[in-house]
Amino acid sequence: MDARRVSQVVPKVRQVGFVTHSDPNPPPQASRTQSVPIESNSGTPYDSPDFSPVMIPPPRHHSENLSHLRSAAVAVPESSSRRPMWDDRVAVVGSYNPGNSLLGQPVSPNSSEVNSEASTTLGWFGRNSSGKFSAGSSFPGGGFDLTTVKMENFTQLEGKKPEAVPERGGGAAVEVHNEVSSSTAKAKTTKAERRAMQEAQRAAKAATKGKGGGGGVEVNNRESSSNTLKAKTTKAERRETQEAQRAAKAAGKAQGNKPVAAAGGAGPSNILRQPSQNRDDPAVGSTIAGSDRRGGDRPPERERKKDVPPPRMQFDDQGRVNKSKKRAVFNQPEAKNRVELFRHLPQYEHGSQLTDLESKFLELDSMHPAVYKVGVQYLAGDVTGGNARCIAMLRAFQEVINDYSTPPGKTLVRDLTAKISSYVSFLIECRPLSMSMGNAIRFQKSRIAKLPLTLSETEAKAALCNDIDRFINEKIILADKVIVRHAATKVRDGDVLLTYGSSCVVEMILLYAHELGKQFRVVVVDSRPKHEGQALLRRLLAKGLSCTYTHINAVSYIMHEVTRVFLGASSVLSNGTTYSRVGTACVAMVAHAFRVPVLICCEAYKFHERVQLDSICSNELGDSNDIARVPGRPDVNSMDNRTNEKNLQFLNLMYDATPSEYVSMIITDYGMIPPTSVPVIVREYRREYLLI
């Protein structure tokens, strides 16, 4: 009904000293005075090095061409006229939507040059430390990204230390120093340079270790897997380089490394640092001790990596994409023109891949037919909706487990986990997983891992199948029933209920309330290109409900007569953000503006501990042809066949994020809760998933 997080009245707190700029709530005066200066400089918003107000610079580019790209990234021309609204929101919403607050900051008059510079350097942090994070998109939310980045750096360091320490006393120090210096100088050193520096050091290190034989090579390979730039130099080339280095090392000339290393990376700054590193090199202890030490240090490191959730694949990272392509079961032609902001998401030219997949059917001997079937169904869009997809996947896994027999010399626990992982990656290729499916997979894997070793294979298989059955029954089917019961209490006679798209839970609620004999009317709001609401409408009409059908364009018109808004969700995140079909946020926002309560119906297994502030960093892109083409209207299909035009980009987003302030209530199988209580449910019941 109302915002839960609208700036609350706080008791008087005496503030001592000065308020730092990092204060998430910009002082109200700033926002009040903002409008005038913005008007004054709105003519030239993009010539400054600041971020543009709507677009976040794409994360994947090297800095050399970034400024140019940034100006290219400004694809929304009305942004300047929209900015005052953004600033308003920053002021009103307070710390909630920091994606905006960052964007608002640079243009605000009181944020000094220093401030904007700080934000850019921070942006750099996000970008070049791993290349996996979509830079500014979610980082300003209070350091979430920053911490992960730090973790990343940290683990990187940890990974290097064991190699560095035993060989030369100062090696680790050099590494650390290098990291620090590169991070402090980040505003100036480009990503490429930094990479080059690291590469050079690594090469030098590998060379010094050369004596260790295969160990060094292996280590280097492992390193390279985390290094994106290495994708350019092939493995063979690197081995060649190492051979050369080893030969040089054998000759006892420490200096011999330098040119090779420099050739490997070639940056202006690394030459300065190189001598200090190499000066220590000859004084290195035995490599054997080093390898021992390494072995001892590795487990904790690995555990730490387990704690950090694996970063999502960023599809703007060419190296990784190429690598994953090699592994891919089938080749999906990628869409040529993707919208700048969403390049980190996969987008394929759907349609052609189906035949590709079919032709590969006979080659896919490793793929279980049930999984294959589900994958094709995902691809073709035959199975949609979070619950249906999740159940289809789990049923397929059930068949996999039934048909499974442990190969000789392997254990069920490990082999089956690996198998399921490979199936999961196949399914991801077909369509990105929803978060609910991720939860289900996590549950499945933890059940496998927790199998007692004493169980025989048949027993274990039976137990796993039983677990899947229980998951489907308890977490999905029964949960839906409970939600329906709860939600029906909120339907009164004379209500007008609005729903958007087609959510199976909401449909069940409407039908159940109708069965109870409540007198209400339904407004089904639909949108292009999927028209999911029409199927819902048909089913509702078949049961005799009185319905109104409209498109999302008319939602602000229809909202004044609505008394409740029922919405489904793909997942609900820890900060109460609802991740759902694109358009949901719009409906919720309009409802909020009209003071109509918004009820989100979502099973608790779809709750996720992640925090997301926008719908940019994780989303799904649909087929751009879908929005380019209007079926049955040849007169307006001028956009058809222009998907590959250079100056035209189609953005067909599948999901969006609804901020928790627009949500009055979330109805789950644990009852009706406010969106602020999602983390409580996650905290209290996450264990249960694993223990069931």
Binding site: R4, G671, I673, V680, E684
Partner: protein, 396 residues
């Protein structure tokens, strides 16, 4: 003071006519009556314009208008008539009446909140139970709490208190492993502990809230809440210098009583009519209200007028503090004002109202959480969103 009230007349009627014999000893329920618990409260009549909850409040707070008294008298006589046939049914299941009786006994203590009385009554059920097994005892307790709840469906704290008691008492893992007698004594122990906690809640809240009352502040209070009274009393005892603005609290004028009590403590008090809240909000430093119930969203259900005071305070950036015991936390989630069962209360306008004119007699409203700053409870000082966390932990 309470004995002047119409509620007492009802009680007396019940006590005298229904069960003159000792009803404290509980008899195990005959198996036939388990299926349908009778509504034992004869005055729970849908036609009645006064909800039982407000009768109790009026009984305790003792501000009675002539009009109200007349209506209550009338309701009481009607209740006796309707109660007549219930006595026949009720004769079979004397046990359920005994709980109510026990509850009424406790309720006569003017300082005891209704929920605490219910908790005490339920503890007495355990003590007097003749059940032989744990299951039997639990069923008996369940029935007793159900009958208490149905005695007054409009009281949120009564329902919530009963539910919480059941949760608190029966949720011990040790129960299964012990023999019945020790398990029972453990239950009694827990029940008494819970009663004690609930009883002390007001004191704890008063202690917690002292940090928020600073010298020279002006506090706006709406309605009469014993918790808020306790808070202000303790602040006065601590030699804090503050001023209180009391709303009149129509229609039962509960604000007048608060003003009286505060004047006795030498606290400077100023009375306002309910519509002068926005006019005086300028000079107010904080708003203090009690609550009939705290709902899952973190909002409160309280006497009519709380919502508009909270709105005015919010728009003027004044903090709104709620003092509420944790047994008032209810698993309700109203989405808007009309989303609750109405609790009705007659309003005395002083002049005759034409029959064509409709009168809004709802006695309470719902204040959404975003207009509240903090809740002072015996669990600590909470933000509204923590209420749901506590409820989830208690109930799930």
């Amino acid at each position: 003071m309470w004995h002047r009230s119409a509620s007492f007349i009802l009680d007396k009627n019940q006590n005298d006519t229904v069960y003159p014999a000792d009803s404290v000893t509980l008899t195990p329920p005959p198996p036939s009556s388990i299926s349908t618990p009778q509504n034992p409260n004869p005055n729970l009549n849908r036609n009645m314009s006064m909800s039982a909850y407000y009768q109790t409040r009026a009984a305790h707070h003792g501000v009675v208008t002539s009009d109200w008294l007349a209506q209550s008298q009338e309701a009481a006589t009607r209740a006796v008539v309707t109660g007549g046939q219930e006595i026949v049914d009720g004769g079979k299941s004397g046990r359920a009446f005994s709980v109510i009786d026990e509850f009424n006994n406790w309720r006569k203590q003017p300082d005891l909140a209704e929920a605490v009385a219910a908790i005490r009554a339920l503890a007495a059920v355990i003590r007097n139970s003749e059940a032989k097994t744990m299951m039997e005892l639990e069923i008996e307790l369940k029935k007793a709490s159900d009958s208490l709840k149905s005695w007054d469906t409009t009281s949120i704290s009564l329902t919530a208190g009963c539910d919480l008691f059941m949760r608190y008492v029966t949720r011990t893992s040790a129960l299964e492993y012990e023999d019945f007698n020790s398990a029972r004594s453990r239950l009694i122990e827990r029940a008494e502990k819970f009663g004690e906690i609930s009883y002390k809640a007001r004191k704890i809240i008063a202690m917690l809230s002292q940090d928020f009352i600073f010298d020279g502040c002006t506090i706006l209070v709406h309605g009469f809440s014993r918790v808020v009274m306790e808070v202000l009393k303790m602040a006065a005892q601590n030699k804090k210098l503050f001023r209180v603005l009391c709303t009149e609290g129509r229609p039962d004028r509960s604000g007048l009583r608060l003003a009286n009590e505060l004047a006795k403590l030498d606290v400077p008090v100023k009375l306002l009519i309910d519509s002068a809240v926005a006019y005086t909000m300028d000079e107010v430093d904080m708003v203090f209200v009690g609550a009939d119930g705290v709902v899952e969203s973190g909002g409160i259900i309280n006497m009519m007028g709380t919502y508009q005071i909270a709105l005015v305070a919010h728009s003027m950036n004044k903090p709104v503090y709620v003092a509420a015991e944790s047994y008032k936390f209810a698993r309700l989630y109203p989405l808007d004002q009309k989303d609750m069962g109405p609790a009705l209360r007659p309003i005395d306008f002083g002049v005759p109202i034409p029959s064509k004119v409709e009168v809004e007699t709802s006695a309470r409203d719902y204040t959404p959480p975003q207009y509240l700053t903090l809740l002072f409870t015996d669990l600590g000082v909470l933000t509204p969103s923590v209420v749901s966390d506590e409820l989830i932990q208690l109930y799930l």
